[in-house]
Structures are given as structure tokens and as C-alpha cells.
């Protein structure tokens, strides 16, 4: 299983990966559905250009955290969908704790402005 490597230098990368894995946690989805759901659930705060999604999805697939599969709606119409793997589930559950820890520290520091 991929080791969790949450640090300030890899924050954006980890952030995007965590969002995608969380969206896939309960059911498999197509690439465009992941982007739409992220926008919808964040009230358009996390806007994803679909192009930026593919490198992340393919990287997660290579690392075995998600699994891509094809469904054929018709002989000419094939769609790729992604499902989270069991190691992906464990990974994102670990990440949840780490993100919580990170944001707590972040707000502790940010809280200085209110004192």
C-alpha cells in the first residue's frame, strides 16, 4: 500500500488526490462525474478543469489506489469508470487523520490573528 506522505511541499497534490479518493469512496464513477461532483459538493469552490483530472486519475490507478475499468454501453460506445481499491480505502482513511491533524495545526497558527 502507498505510504501516506502529507507535507507542505506536496499539499496541492495530496489535496487533489484526497478529494478524488473521497468522491470514489462509496461508488465507482466516470472521470467527468468526479469533477462535477467535486464542484457540486464544494458549492463550486473546487473547480476542476477535466484535463487536470486525467494525470491524477492515471497516477492513482498506477499506484493501485483506484482501478479503472471499461463498460460498453454499445459496441461503439465505451466508457471508462474508476473504483477505489481496498488499499485506496485504507490510504484515504489514514489521510483523513493526517488532514485533520494538519488543518488543526493550521488553524492554531491562524488563530493568532484573533488573539
Amino acid at each position: 500500500m502507498k505510504k501516506s506522505d502529507l507535507s507542505v511541499s506536496t499539499l496541492t497534490k495530496n489535496f487533489n488526490e484526497a478529494l478524488i479518493l473521497s468522491i470514489l469512496f462509496h461508488e465507482p464513477k466516470h472521470g467527468y462525474q468526479i469533477a462535477l461532483e467535486l464542484e457540486e459538493k464544494s458549492d463550486n469552490l473546487f473547480k476542476f478543469n477535466h484535463g487536470t483530472l486525467y494525470p491524477i486519475l492515471h497516477k492513482l490507478e498506477k499506484e493501485g489506489l483506484i482501478k479503472g475499468d471499461w463498460e460498453a454501453e454499445s459496441p461503439k460506445r465505451k466508457r471508462k469508470f474508476y473504483a477505489i481499491s481496498s488499499s485506496g480505502k485504507k490510504y484515504i482513511q489514514n489521510q483523513y487523520t493526517e488532514w485533520k491533524n494538519l488543518t488543526e495545526h493550521f488553524f492554531n497558527i491562524l488563530g493568532e490573528v484573533k488573539k
Binding site: H30, H50, G51
Partner: protein, 257 residues
């Protein structure tokens, strides 16, 4: 789907991946584009607005595509792709053909100067053997591309790397032979051991032997450089052909999708 064909073609031209991976990525993107367009239609957007929104969402940056390519390609493959891609203009190809003919002419001309090659180094024979194996591999690909026109995307690049590896092995064998000849001559006292790499003649008695050494080494290096230039050019043209077949296959695939 035809409405997104220009976008798909544009992405396809920038996506530098080998087959069949490229087709799979393009199919994934085209599938998502189509689904997103339909999603916007079901949300009550007009066709024009749905198309505009979809196009906005799929404006894939060069950075994202480069990231995707880097993810699927090793450093070595990326370097090779760059090498063959950088030489695609017509005049560059024409220049390469002229160079190839000059190299071949010089090589064949030297081979026919029999006395020169009668005294060649023993290392010339493995170099020639490797050349014929490489040539055979290259001709097999040539037969596949041009004669039977078997354009199975999974098989297009199979064997192309072998041509390159054999060429490098030929160059290595020739260079190794050159230095081995120099070392042997040095051991025999023909060349000064002190000036090993400069190949200086030690004394006038060894002059005739040193001429023999020069003939052996020169004919070996001429053969090595002649055959490796030829096989490198064969590899280059086959790689370019494979690239153009892949482009055509993807275009057909997307148009039928």
C-alpha cells in the same frame, strides 16, 4: 460527436504516447466529453451553451498532457521520442537521405577496395554479422509496414527498439575492437605503450607492422560507422512511419466513435 472532433484531434496531436495506450486515453477523454455534453443538455442548456461549457471544461493545458505523458513514459522513451520528433520536416528528411546515400556509397566503395579489407581486423566480422541481423529486423518491419500493411496497433512498435539496441551493440563492438587492436599492437611493441591512446609508432622497424595495424583499425571503424549510420537511419524512418500509422489509427478511431 463530430462537433468535438477538432478538439479531440488537437488533443491527439499533443498527446505523445505510444499505441495502444494513446487510443485508450483518447477513448476515455472522448467518452467523458460526450457524457458531459449530454449532462449539460439534460440540465436544460441549449446545444450551443452545452457545447461551449464542455469545450471550456476540456481545455487541456500542455502541462497536464505533459504530466500524463511523463506518467506513462520512461525517461529513456521520452528522449527517444524527442529525438525522432525533432527531425520531421521535409528538408531534414531529404538531407538525411542524402547523408545515407553518401555513407552507403563510401562504405560500398571501400568494401570493393578488396586489398584494404583483406587485412581487416577480426572484429569486423562480428560487426558485419550484427549489421545483417539488424538489417533483417529492419526489413521485417519494413515488410510489415509497407508490403502486408499489417497495422495492428499493439504490434506497431514491436521490434523497433531491437533495431536500436542492435545498432548500439554494433557500435560498441566496433569501438571495443578498435581499442583491442590498439592494445594488441601496443603489447606487441608496435605502438608505444606510453602513448597508448595516441598510437605513436615506437621505431622505424615497426613501421610496416604499424601500417598493418592502421589498415586493420581504419577498415574496422569505417565498417562500424558505415553500418551503424545505415541502421540508425533505418530505425529513424521506421519510427517515423510507426508514428504516422498511430496518428492515422487514432483519427479513424475517433471519427467512428
Amino acid at each position: 460527436m463530430k462537433r468535438f472532433l477538432p478538439l479531440l484531434r488537437e488533443i491527439n496531436s499533443r498527446l505523445n504516447l505510444p499505441q495502444p495506450l494513446k487510443s485508450r486515453v483518447m477513448l476515455e477523454i472522448s467518452g467523458d466529453i460526450e457524457e458531459l455534453f449530454e449532462y449539460y443538455l439534460t440540465k436544460g442548456y441549449s446545444e450551443t451553451d452545452a457545447e461551449k461549457n464542455t469545450l471550456d471544461k476540456f481545455a487541456i493545458s500542455d502541462e497536464s498532457l505533459a504530466e500524463l505523458v511523463n506518467l506513462h513514459t520512461s525517461y529513456y522513451k521520452r528522449w527517444l521520442n524527442k529525438l525522432s520528433e525533432n527531425t520531421r520536416t521535409t528538408w531534414e528528411k531529404a538531407l538525411l537521405i542524402i547523408v545515407m546515400f553518401i555513407v552507403l556509397f563510401t562504405f560500398v566503395n571501400s568494401v570493393y577496395a578488396a586489398p584494404f579489407f583483406q587485412n581487416t581486423s577480426l572484429f569486423t566480422y562480428p560487426v558485419l554479422a550484427l549489421f545483417f541481423i539488424t538489417l533483417g529486423t529492419g526489413l521485417a518491419k519494413f515488410y510489415q509496414f509497407y508490403i502486408v500493411k499489417e497495422h495492428n496497433t499493439r504490434q506497431i512498435r514491436a521490434g523497433l527498439d531491437l533495431v536500436l539496441y542492435l545498432t548500439l551493440l554494433t557500435l560498441f563492438t566496433g569501438s571495443f575492437g578498435y581499442f583491442a587492436e590498439q592494445y594488441l599492437s601496443s603489447s606487441a611493441g608496435i605502438l608505444s605503450g606510453e602513448y597508448f591512446f595516441l598510437g605513436l609508432i615506437t621505431n622505424s622497424e615497426s613501421l610496416s607492422q604499424s601500417v598493418d595495424w592502421m589498415i586493420r583499425s581504419t577498415s574496422l571503424m569505417m565498417t562500424t560507422l558505415g553500418v551503424t549510420s545505415t541502421t540508425l537511419l533505418i530505425w529513424f524512418f521506421l519510427t517515423n512511419k510507426a508514428g504516422s500509422i498511430e496518428e492515422a489509427e487514432v483519427s479513424v478511431l475517433l471519427e467512428n466513435h
